[in-house]
């Protein structure tokens, strides 16, 4: 029967969730950069998780006999320290490995904080409309009008320099993006028939907002979350570099850069390696985010 025959995807007896996942992977894997980004990102996550096992030394262990030793392939290297040591004799490799923890930690906390607040505020703005909407969006416009790093810097200056305060500042700076994105998605979903149908069925505003509308707005938010994960790492590193984020001797990559500033001409490795670590991580996450957008954004989907 024409009416009861289902679509091709459903004809095979596969679990629908699995089919959705498979389709997602099909589009995601078409983007080669995204797959590479994913692997690099997973690699960084693994390093962060198993830092205690991998790292040859502690992050703040000092070896006074080996100050500013170059990496192993250069003359005068100490074979104990693969990537050399910094000015106070700490192993670069171990510090980089432990530093990945801070970066991922910052990314996770900042993104989830900004996401939750941004989504709730955006939902309210988009659903309520009218004056509430105008009020919220103008407030967000004001936050967006500041250069983000400058605003974060000012916030940290008020709150006092520490990694936690830096994360709060970055989250505040980032959440207008989520508010805007959520509001736009809510506005387009709100008028769809299924929302009206739920209203006619008697659903109350809170249910409409969180149960009916929100799940359908998630795709762009996931993409934004992935991309702002890297921004958060970058901003945290920048604040660390300016002395407003994590404080020494924390092996945070940005802070490491700041500490090494004065040796930039004498010992290239103390600046280069933390910089490279930031670059690679951020690049991998951005590539992955692009792939996520390809796979989740139906507008870009090729048939």
């Amino acid at each position: 029967m024409a009416d009861t025959s289902t679509t091709a995807a459903a004809a095979k007896p596969v679990d629908p969730r699995l089919a959705v996942l498979r389709e997602f992977w099909f589009y995601f894997s078409e983007n080669r950069g995204a797959v590479i980004g994913l692997w690099v990102f997973l690699f960084v996550v693994a390093i962060a998780v198993f830092a205690d096992l991998i790292a040859p030394y502690g992050a703040i262990d000092q070896y006074r006999d080996a100050l500013l030793k170059p990496p192993f392939w250069q003359e005068g290297a100490d074979p104990r320290f693969l990537l050399g040591t910094d000015a106070v004799g700490r192993d670069m490799l171990s510090r980089l490995i432990y530093g990945s923890r801070f970066s991922l930690f910052v990314g996770c906390i900042v993104v989830s904080g900004a996401l939750v607040v941004g989504v709730v505020v955006g939902l309210i703005a988009g659903y309520a409309g009218g004056r509430i909407d105008t009020l919220i969006m103008r407030l967000m416009d004001i936050i967006l009008a500041f250069p983000s790093l400058l605003l974060a810097l000012a916030l940290v200056a008020v709150l006092g320099p520490s990694l936690v305060n830096a994360m709060i500042a970055i989250a505040i700076v980032q959440q207008p993006h989520y508010v805007r994105l959520t509001r736009a998605a809510v506005l387009s979903e709100k008028t769809k028939d299924y929302v009206v149908a739920a209203r006619v069925a008697g659903a109350r505003p809170l249910r409409l907002m969180f149960v009916t509308i929100l799940p359908n707005c998630l795709s762009p938010l996931i993409v934004q979350a992935a991309l702002s994960f890297s921004t958060a790492i970058l901003d945290a590193a920048a604040l660390g570099f300016l002395g407003m984020g994590a404080q020494p001797p924390t092996p945070e990559w940005g802070t490491m850069l700041a500490e090494a500033r004065e040796f930039i001409l004498r010992a290239w490795w103390v600046v280069t390696f933390p910089g490279l670590a930031i670059l690679i991580t951020v690049l991998a996450i951005n590539l992955m985010g692009d792939g996520l957008r390809d796979a989740l954004d139906p507008k870009l989907k090729r048939s």
Partner: protein, 275 residues
């Protein structure tokens, strides 16, 4: 005389457009002074082209929007959205089925949850009973138990429209507003859905307000027909009367524009073409 389920008295709906800093804005009269009555178990068809106000009227009847003026009576009770708000009892009496079967189901909701939602938000029914009711309704509209835990994107247009009808019936409404329920469907599926609607009307003694632009469908399903043109009801009467003896010029134009698929008309056209 049988009971009147739905009555509209001089319904009016205006929309205010624009009204910026320097302009005063315009008022659009979407529905102008429309009155009608529908008896229990009957079908009123509202016919018109895009922008004639038929969907606005549907939203008023479904109590989604309030009329600017005029009275809406359901089961003889006056509905006043602005003053009294909407009681759950009233809400349950009128349900709606939309035109586009792809937009009217939440893509992230399983069919079972789609059907259970009206009961969940309106009643204190336990989960198991909700499930049973939803399953019964699913079978009633011609789908199978295996469809219960699938997502909307796995269904064809006709199946989705069946699901939308099932959802509308979950609260045992008195009145079903059908906003172009078959215009997005293929011919063969359209026939199946029309049959289903006829079966359900017989079984539950439902009253329909059937909104359509397709005269052949209207002629098939309606008892009474109301033709709308720029917000006005230009023609209102029994189906046979309207189709055999249209009064208003617009109705006549509408009938003349409808393509004919009978053999005589084709023969006449081919003769004209050959000449």
């Amino acid at each position: 005389m049988s009971e009147i389920v739905l009555e509209g008295r001089n319904l009016v709906r205006d929309y205010h457009i624009g009204g910026g800093l320097f302009s005063s804005g315009r008022v659009i009269h979407a529905v102008k002074d429309v009155s009608f009555k529908v008896e229990k178990g009957k079908t009123l068809a509202i016919v018109g082209e895009s922008g004639c106000g038929k969907s606005t009227l549907a939203r008023i009847i479904t109590m989604i929007d309030a009329p600017t003026a005029g009275e809406l009576l359901i089961d003889g009770d006056k509905v006043d959205l602005v003053k009294d708000g909407l009681t759950p009892e009233m809400r349950r009496k009128v349900q709606i089925v939309f035109q586009n079967p792809y937009g009217s189901l939440n893509p992230r909701q399983k069919i079972g949850d789609v059907l259970g939602e009206p009961l969940l938000v309106n009643t204190a029914m336990p989960t198991a009973e909700r499930r049973d009711r939803a399953m019964q309704m699913l079978l009633k509209v011609g789908l199978g138990p295996e469809h219960f835990s699938r997502y909307p994107h796995m269904f064809s247009g006709g199946q989705r429209q069946r699901i939308a009808i099932a959802r509308a019936l979950m609260l045992n409404p008195r009145l079903l507003v059908l906003d172009e329920p078959v215009s997005a469907l293929d011919l063969s599926v359209q026939a199946q859905v029309l049959n289903l609607l006829a079966d359900l009307q017989d079984e539950f003694d439902l009253t329909y307000v059937f909104i359509s632009h397709d005269l052949s469908v209207v002629r098939y399903i309606a008892d009474d027909v109301m033709v709308m043109y720029f917000g006005e009801a230009v023609e209102y009467g029994g189906r046979d009367r309207v189709f055999s003896d249209p009064q208003h010029d617009y109705t006549k134009t509408l009938f003349a524009a409808t393509p004919r698929a009978d053999v005589e008309s084709i023969r006449a056209r081919l003769a004209r073409r050959a000449a």
